[in-house]
């Protein structure tokens, strides 16, 4: 029985961590702009003096 209690505690804790992560993601606005972050990461940093 005590093993079950331990497991219950562990599983609920993991769930709560994910709930907290979700709330943080909403609060920081990650669901509001799904375009810029996805594209920003693809930009290569280029040397400043590149001309065509």
């Amino acid at each position: 029985m005590s093993v079950i209690i331990l497991l219950l505690g562990a599983s609920l804790t993991v769930g709560l961590i994910f709930l907290a992560a979700f709330c943080w993601a909403v609060r920081s606005g990650q669901f509001e702009d799904d375009y810029s972050p996805a594209h920003r990461i693809l930009f290569d940093e280029q040397p400043e003096d590149q001309h065509l």
């Binding site: 599983s11 979700f22 400043e48």
Partner: protein, 803 residues
Amino acid sequence: MTTVETCCYHCGEACENNERWLDDKPFCCEGCKLVFELLNNNGLCAYYQLNGQPGAPQRTPVRADKFAFLEDEKIQQQLIQFRNNTHTHVTFYIPQIHCSSCLWLLEHLHRLDAGVQRVTVNFARKEAQVIFQEPQTSLRKVAELLTSIGYEPYISLQDLQHKKPGINRQLIYQLGVAGFCFGNIMLLSFPEYFSGNGDIDTHLFRYLNLALSLPVFLYSAQAFYRSAWGGLKHGFMNIDVPIVLAIFVTFARSLADIATGSGAGYFDALTGIVFFMLAGRALQDKTYQGLSFDRDYTSYFPIAVTVVKGGKQLPIALPDIREGDILLIHNNELVPADGMLIQGNALIDYSFVTGEADPVPCQAGDIIYAGGRQLDGNIQLHTIKPVAQSYLTSLWNRQELQQQTHRETSFIHLLGRYFTWGVLGIAVLTAAWWAWHDPARIWPSVTAILIIACPCALLLASSFTGGHILRILSRHRLYLRNANAIERLAATDHIVFDKTGTLTDKHNTTVIFNGPPLTHAESMLAAALAAQSTHPLSQAVRSFCGNSGLPVQQFRQVTGMGIAGVVNGEHIRLGNAAFTGAGENTAGGSVVHFSVNGQVRGYFSMQNGYRKGIPGLLMQLRKKYALTVLSGDNAREEKQLRKLMGNDAALCFSQQPQDKLDHILALQKQGYKVLMIGDGLNDAGALKQSNTGISLTEDSNNFTPASDGILEARQLPLLPFYIQLCKACKRIILTSFVFSLVYNFTGLFFAVQGRLSPLTAAVLMPASSISIILITWGLSMLAGKRLHRKALQLGADEDQPFT
């Protein structure tokens, strides 16, 4: 001239005369070339490599001191969000943002100005947050820098008066909490359902479930409590009322079961249904961040205007304009306050305010009303009414636009009510039966009936279908304010159109020459003369006659009359009848007479062309709907319109905004469900009064009056198919509802006997929810495919939508 079409390297528009080249790259105008030079000199040409031709055309140069008002301390304070010694934060709305190149360039702004520390673009809102350092750079310099690379920030009076409302994230949190609790309760219920004969002590799990259901009951379900209470307060029983009743009964029954130790309660069914309903609501409430359905005149007005005081030009914030101030209105600027013309050639385009298609020429001393756009050089005005009392503002603040019109309620609520009465009837009958046979089973059977038969299936079906339909419509560029608008649009039986800017395209002027056909030499003469003037009519004549490099001597311009000059030794005149000696003007509308050496050759007449696909659209609509045209313009196009609209349509001309509104009211009194399609401020009242008001826009940046929906203008020919899709919405909801009744009856079968076990409920509830979600999704996609096929047939293109 070459006939090969070259496209501008910056914006992709056709290069008309093919003469501007730099680094082997063609440019359509000086503006585009300048932007390229600036970027090239600063090593920012990756802009052009990420996407081909990413820019916006820069044909109309922005006046050098346009952003002078940003030096004003008071205006700065309103715009700047945060400021300390080291940095300043400001957010600009930049409507041109449309691709990853824009994103890249704006976020590399620091390479152009070392004072800029960081730029973060929010693509969905089309906003750029700029962090910069004073005094290395200033607010004005940043705005001017953005303008110089083709991203002019849009700063309107609205920015001054109220801050944009924050996004409401509560629903998302509620959904997250409900999902967490639902998942865990399901998991923790397994021992209860499958433990067999008491090998495990399930009491701990029961109390854990109770604890986990509390956040759902007390927090997540608030969305429904609020809506139900709001409805009841107004004496209206909406669909949320029976749902809240079911939530309460389920919770009470479960609590009682656990307290007496007689069962595990129905917490998994309860939290599951709340979770699914919230998911539907979140889907349906998706907002278009790039669009605003509630714009008022303040977002149409500039934030500041140039005032002439003691020979100096000062930028003054609009609310600070007083009676008697002298305003300097630059070419192509909006007149922000009613005033008397004291200097310059005024040619005012009122089409947005009144619907008149032709610009109005004004003489010194004439009153010019706010909302008009000056088209012919700079003018000076003597303010006679401050902004808050001007004609345009009073138009907006009129009573009928402020009051909330009562709108008929959705069939969902009605159906939900019948359903509830039916369920209550069954509950009463069951109670009576058990009172006779076995009174102990009244409580379990009645509560079980209320649990199993809540109209949540109906609510789920309607919110998921609504969400899907809204999304499909937005993919085809019709952006509806909310799901209620779908049902109202579906009920339409009378369509009212505005003419100017709705049926016709303001940017598509057709020029016809009336008279003996012009020879090429004559065309060249007219073109050379017309090229000397910036007047829109001259411009139209020039584009009709072609390019001419002939020199013009003795050029003179007579305000309100026309232009004259000597080309190739011939005396040429373009202008009104009196100026050219053509005699009385009988043509009506915008005409330019043309004379060579005093000999009248004929006249050019200009007409706004109808949008592409309009004749076909009207032909189709005519068969199914009653049609009306309410135009603020005069009746000169009546014949042509009559031919398009058919004999049954009502055509009304010279309609003031008030007339339009009254006309809609009259139609509604006759029992019509009116759909109004308009674009200007003069339609604002009618749009609001009609059952559904849709405003057309050329692009997302355009000002649109408050309405139920925003439609991109070139998609107008798809109108009948939009309505068809909206009609399908109701059918889909009903189909999935009927389907869900199967689950309800299965549940009722157990419930009336008082034998509904938590396990049965836990299987039935999610099963019915998920099948409704799948059915609505599948049927919506099917209905959407039909619209998509039509869209392709009509040749409407399918690129990136603008939200």
